[in-house]
Amino acid sequence: MDEAFDVNDCLRRWKEGDEAAAEQLIEHLYPVISKIVHLHLPRRDDEKDLVQEILMKTFSKLHQFKGDAPISHWVSRLALTTCLDRLRAQKIRPEVRRADLTPEEADSFDAAWLTGSTPDAGDAISARDVVDKILSTLSPEDRTLILMVDLEGRSMQEISDLTGWSVSKIKMRLFRIRPQLRQMINKLEE
């Protein structure tokens, strides 16, 4: 991200009606929002619409931004909340079985033992679909949490800052999710 980007100047110009400033803000915030949407929502959800929706929310709430923290933190929190709302609207699968996987997904699941192999684009997509199917059995909060820990490698404190959940609540959730994940993976092996 461009460190030289002056957010406050951009906000001031936007409030004065400068459309170029809004354009700069959109370009500045797009990667931050896109990253969160890509990470937390299933692959087939319409990413473009959701990023736009988050940007609209950002602009409508910009007057609440105090400038104490970088704008990217503030927007990340807003984006995460919106993703969680979107996930809450989706149905949680009770479980996922081997028969629910397509042949490509089943191959990808089996190939996940081969740690050394580098997947091609197709394998990566199939692996992602398997991951999405496994994650669809978790609650939106658990799903979000496990991705932040296992994929992004975020610390408990970072997650707490971003979600507003306490560190003990996060630890408790993780403690509960792990056996659930293991059970789901073992079921896919059957």
């Binding site: 459309e19 809004a22 354009e23 959109i26 370009e27 797009y30 990667p31 929002i33 896109s34 990253k35 969160i36 949407v37 890509h38 990470l39 692959r43 473009k48 990023v51 736009q52 940007l55 609209m56 602009f59 409508s60 990808s108 699941f109 190939a111 996940a112 033992w113 081969l114 740690t115 997947p119 684009a121 394998d123 990566a124 997509i125 692996a127 992602r128 398997v130 991951v131 496994i134 991705l147 296992d150 994929l151 792990r178 994940l181 293991r182 993976i185 073992n186």
Partner: protein, 102 residues
């Protein structure tokens, strides 16, 4: 045995995430036409917001004006009632029977 199964499941999960990691990465730049479409939606929403505010102000002014008129009428009627020598009920009887007062 159970521990071994847990270890295998954890390992498999980690590998699945590693294999799919590329699909989780976001885009660094918006797709073609995204910024223009977002700006258009932003200005449309701003226009709508301003329109709602205008309608709100007009409704508020109309309510205040209606309240003012109602208060004026009430006060005027009350004032004219108070000016009579008789109670409103008595005055109605006088008017009904056409009794000369003075």
């Amino acid at each position: 045995m159970n521990e071994k199964m847990n270890f295998r499941a954890d390992e498999k999960w980690r590998n699945l995430l590693a294999r799919s990691a590329a699909t989780f990465a976001g885009n660094a730049t918006p797709p073609y036409g995204f910024v223009t479409a977002t700006l258009a939606r932003l200005s449309a929403e701003q226009r709508q917001q301003e329109e709602f505010e205008r309608i709100g102000w007009r409704a508020l002014l109309a309510s205040v004006a209606a309240l003012f008129i109602a208060a004026t009428v009430t006060l005027t009627l009350n004032y004219s009632d108070q000016r009579g020598d008789f109670e409103p009920g008595t005055r109605s009887l006088i008017q009904m029977d056409n009794i000369p007062v003075s």
